[in-house]
Symmetry: C2
């Protein structure tokens, strides 16, 4: 399974970066291969200063070896070996009318000291962070997520949509990071869903990513925008930074387990602003977004 | 003591904001009074878009009541009442040749259920974060810190200088936030230092702040700078954000105990950049700064 899934994310990284380069039309992804001293490594691909994408990364990694102390505590196990691989992406478009997107699909195996698998699971998801709310975009994104989920279980979409709203909650701001999508974790074999079934589900979600995001990009990337729109985008990006550095388990985990810092922090936006006590005007488009972030809604 | 110290920081806030407005010559501090539902409140003063100070805050607060659950765990006590007051300031100058500065002086009392003081201490410090290194500025700042310390105990400066280097260590970047200064905490009564002696020490440090910082500002604020200098400042401000949101105990504490978010996060810089895997050129002024941040040195 681990080879099959790593093979899948390698190909998915190629498919996604090719498509994004085609849409951008100007910038290309820069590739960095890196190794983890304790075992494994990754292939980081970053795009900067594109016509459409101001900054973004589509990274894969495969790490294995002894489970680090901090992860032992986290998972509540003692000495163990592990294997983890996944694809993580974040895209920060230049035009404030185009939403930021994040996605991640990952697979984890845990072994006893004889090398026998004692646990294995999938996790992942994809979520959208607009700066201006086009309801039809949020609907399209969620509809695509729902279609991928419904092919596997009717309860997946409502359950993972809710998990996404819960996870990407910027608690100290009392608002969601964005309009959500899917979030799932610890997808383990059950009577009705074997690991092979979970593989099919996770790869179906991965395959749905471009369909969920690209039509939104192409529809909005040539809309005109003002310096005020851009300022608002940069202020909202500040909230994105706050979520990632204060609340995001994946980011903090990476920073505390001596992960490759530049690959982890590629998620941070290129230009960001913080203003004191900034509030959008009543009735403005900016305030409309805040309303929805403070009260996550159903999009399909 | 609590009234005496709160009275002191009220006056110090006035002295500092008046002087900063005078130096800035353009912007004035905007004042927000706020109340804490559980007891206490604060006086937040923020300056934005000045001629010298792009963004900054000089805040005082006084909070009291039942010790929140999270603080009980932190201090390792059960049901207790507390009182805390302090002044916190952060200044982000516009010109990249002028360093950012942070300072904080605070006093804490803990009571048993009969209202008897069971513990009390002072804490605080001040530290400098340059974007370009002028060694004489770092020396002046530290020399002023040392003078304030030496008036009370010859071991204070070396001990609190080291604590500052240790505390403001941006571990995931393997570098200091800046060139340090002083950091002290849990300054409690001993045989040689009573609370009155600590009060004199802490207020001497507080009184030294303008002397430590303002001559650096006036010396550098009119130096010419390029867009490249400004980009570097914004990239380094990104590290400031990372430290404050990932490592700074005061910030995380405030966010987790439902503090006044806008007063806590006034410390975040106005314009910030993150670039993927950015490294200054060998031998450049930018690299000279990094060398010193990676290897904190003695300035006096």
């Amino acid at each position: 399974m681990k080879e099959k899934f790593y093979d899948y994310i390698q190909k998915l990284q190629d498919t996604i970066t090719s498509k994004l380069e085609e849409v951008d039309g100007k910038a290309l992804f820069q590739e960095d291969l890196w190794e983890r001293p304790e075992g494994g490594g990754g292939r980081t691909r970053v795009i900067e200063n594109g016509a459409v994408f101001e900054k973004g990364g589509v990274n894969i990694s495969k790490v294995f070896g002894e489970l680090p102390k901090s992860m032992q505590t986290y998972f509540g196990v003692e000495d163990a070996d592990f294997f983890a691989c996944g694809l993580s992406l974040v895209l920060h478009p230049k035009n404030p009318m185009v939403p930021t997107v994040h996605a991640n699909w990952r697979y984890f195996e845990m072994y006893d000291k004889e090398g026998k698998i004692v646990d294995q699971w999938f996790g992942g998801g994809q979520d959208l962070t607009p700066y201006y709310l086009f309801e039809e975009d949020a609907k399209h994104f969620h509809q695509t997520c729902k279609k991928a989920c419904d092919a596997h279980h009717p309860e997946f979409y409502p359950a993972y949509k809710k998990k996404c709203d819960d996870y990407f909650w910027n608690a100290h701001r009392n608002e969601a990071r964005g309009v959500g999508g899917l979030f799932f974790d610890y997808c383990k074999a059950t009577e009705t869903m074997g690991m092979e079934d979970w593989y099919k589900f996770v790869t179906e979600v991965g395959d749905s990513f471009l369909e969920a995001y690209i039509p939104i990009v192409t529809k909005r990337m040539e809309l005109p925008y003002s310096q005020e729109n851009r300022d608002w985008q940069e202020i909202r990006r500040g909230r994105y930074v706050e979520f990632n550095l204060v609340h995001d388990k994946g980011t903090l985990f990476g920073l505390r387990t001596n992960g490759r810092i530049e690959s982890i922090l590629m998620s941070l936006p290129p230009h960001v602003q913080w203003r004191y006590d900034h509030h959008p005007e009543k009735g403005s488009e900016e305030e409309k977004l805040i309303q929805v972030l403070q009260n996550p809604k159903d999009w399909v």
